[in-house]
Symmetry: C2
Subunit: 84 residues, 2 copies
């Protein structure tokens, strides 16, 4: 594996797992007041678009990273709607 | 412009501008308690990696979208450190 591919994998992993600690925090504190609903809605929709973009250009890395990020981002969005 | 390129541009725009309303909200409310510091740190670092990945593979779209997202994500991180 060359350095560029390795950097892409690190980048994809960091931006994908990033939303896990946010889900855990909101789940524990049952508080999402400081989270911006437009941010969550825009980001979740954008990540869904990236997933279908990956599907259309037949890119497994783009589909995989954005598929996982979508699940986490959508969970954050639902928790925001639930806990306000 | 074909549909796939258009979808990629929509996806990039949505996931880039998404962080602007979060910066505005935190700036206005001076409150970032519900934002997860590990999320912001991981996401900001990951987006920086995506920027350099774009630089290495000479991809202007990846550099541009992740360069803007980095500025917004880093601003969110600084506001989180400032307002706690």
């Amino acid at each position: 594996m060359n350095m560029t591919t390795a950097l892409g994998l690190v980048a994809g992993t960091l931006t994908t797992v990033a939303f896990l600690p946010q889900v855990v925090r909101t789940w524990k504190t049952k508080s999402a007041k400081d989270l911006s609903l437009p941010m969550l809605a825009s980001f979740t929709t954008g990540v869904a678009c990236w997933f279908f973009y990956g599907l259309w250009i037949d890119s497994l890395p783009i589909m995989l990273t954005n598929g996982i990020t979508f699940v986490l981002a959508a969970t954050n969005l639902i928790l925001k709607l639930k806990y306000g």
